[in-house]
């Protein structure tokens, strides 16, 4: 019985809605980088890209403008940190399309409790992908 319960989230990850979050405007746009400082108001897991695990998504209220943003962090397995409502965060990311009436920010760097987490590189390459050169010890063409 317990095993069956454990299978549910795994199956949920594998069959997460393929295009549930991916739209034409939803990509890391290097032309639209923003910096936001605010407070976490809500934490959720949402499907974002085709065939990938759900992403950790925060609702952050920007301190300066008192405006709410949806903040796309990373796949939940990659972030691996406890995060709570009411915590202060600093975010560097790309402004994406509005969802549910809220502008979305795809995070590149997230500062939480004084620690900075790099989630993407400057062009938006996701850190959790690592790159094939890390997988087989092969130095890829032109890398580094």
């Amino acid at each position: 019985m317990n095993n069956r319960i454990a299978l549910i989230p795994i199956l949920a990850v594998l069959f997460a809605g393929p295009a549930a979050g991916q739209t034409a405007e939803h990509f890391y746009n290097v032309d639209k980088e923003v910096k936001i400082e605010g407070v976490v108001r809500q934490i959720s897991l949402e499907p974002r890209y085709k065939g990938t695990a759900p992403f950790l998504v925060l609702r952050v209220e920007a301190s300066a403008e008192k405006k709410m943003y949806k903040v796309e962090v990373s796949p939940s397995w990659f972030f691996g940190q406890d995060i709570h409502g009411g915590e202060k965060v600093k975010i560097v990311g790309s402004l994406s399309e509005a969802r549910e009436g809220l502008p979305t920010v795809i995070v590149r760097e997230l500062q939480l409790r004084g620690e900075t987490f790099t989630l993407r590189d400057k062009r938006g390459f996701p850190s959790w992908q690592g790159g094939p050169k890390h997988k087989r010890g092969i130095r890829r063409f032109g890398g580094d």
Binding site: F27, D31, R48, I106, D121, G130, K133, R139, F141, G142
Partner: protein, 413 residues
Amino acid sequence: MKRRNVFLFFLLPFLGVFFFFSLASFLGQADLKRRTEVLVRGQLLATADILRVAVSHLLDEGVSPDGILDIVLTEEDIYFIALLDGENNVLAWNSRYEGYLPISLREARAERSEIIDSPAGKIFNTFTAVPRRDGSRYYIYLGYALAGMEEMIALSRRTSFLLSGLILLAGALFFRGLFQLQSGYMAKAREAEAERLEKERFRELSAFTSGIAHEIKNPLNSLSLLFELLLHKTPPEEKESLELGKTQVQAIARIVDRFSSAVRPVRPVSSMLVLDDVLRRAAASLAAEDPEVTARLLIEAESGVRLPGDGELLSLALLNLLKNAAEASSSTPVWVEGRRTKKKVEILVRDEGPGIPPEAVARVFEPFFTTKEKGTGIGLFLAKKIVEAHGGTIEVRSRAGKGSEFRIELPGA
């Protein structure tokens, strides 16, 4: 060999060879990389051309942007692709990596291709205009890389590193061997030089000693004759003193003879000998000189062992060793053993005396070297000369308080 010479003759050529190999390898890698870039860029442009035609047709047929990407996205070397309208708005896109579309829409220019360095490697990308039948324009943004090609370059690089390592290893081993050979040769050359100097010194010493012996023996002969004459003419009560004088003169003559024989070259007259006879002849000579030794002299010879050599000389050599052993202690036994070992004949002379001091062991066969108060340093030197003149070897082992053992090895019959 001096450190500078090692550097000049061994290390420098090796480093030179290694440097040229590394340079050739580096240039080869760079050339391969350049050729690959040209190849991938060509592939990218060809793919972009094909896509332009296909997308243009699909747009004219009214297929949606998402539908177009689903149709055209079959090439596995495409890392990302985006379809944009004339105002550079992204209509649809797809990427291997979540949200990764590294285009700056501000900087995007049609028909311009560039290379993006990503953690996944170098991605070649291009921004291609797609004209429609109605005159409007769309754009395809395409990112492309050849994974197989990158792996080939990585393999080439690894092979190059491996070869470099092997060259380093082989070079190190080769030059180490060469250096050891050179060191061995130099050591032998030094030994040969020392031997030459020693022989020269000995030749000078021989000439000097022979000259002195010759000069001393003539007056000694005259003195001996004079004592003989005086003995005939002297009354019996005075003869004792004269006898003593004569004996002393004869002792001086014997010492001079020994020195002369020591410096003379040894030329054995070889015949077939029986080992037992040689040992017993030496023992008899010792007994004649010192009858008291006979009681503690133990001879053990393997029967029927024959060897070629000069019986007189070999007996003399053994006599010197036996005298040396007998003088080591006045009461302990002296052993002399002879036997055949494979094609050689081995003779051991052993005593149970106090042993030779360690610092003196290496010098016991040197001429005129002695640790005894009344020794001349001739006996062991002469023994070694005789053994070596027979093509044999002699060595000594000694332990403090346990005695000494001289081991002679001669060619057997």
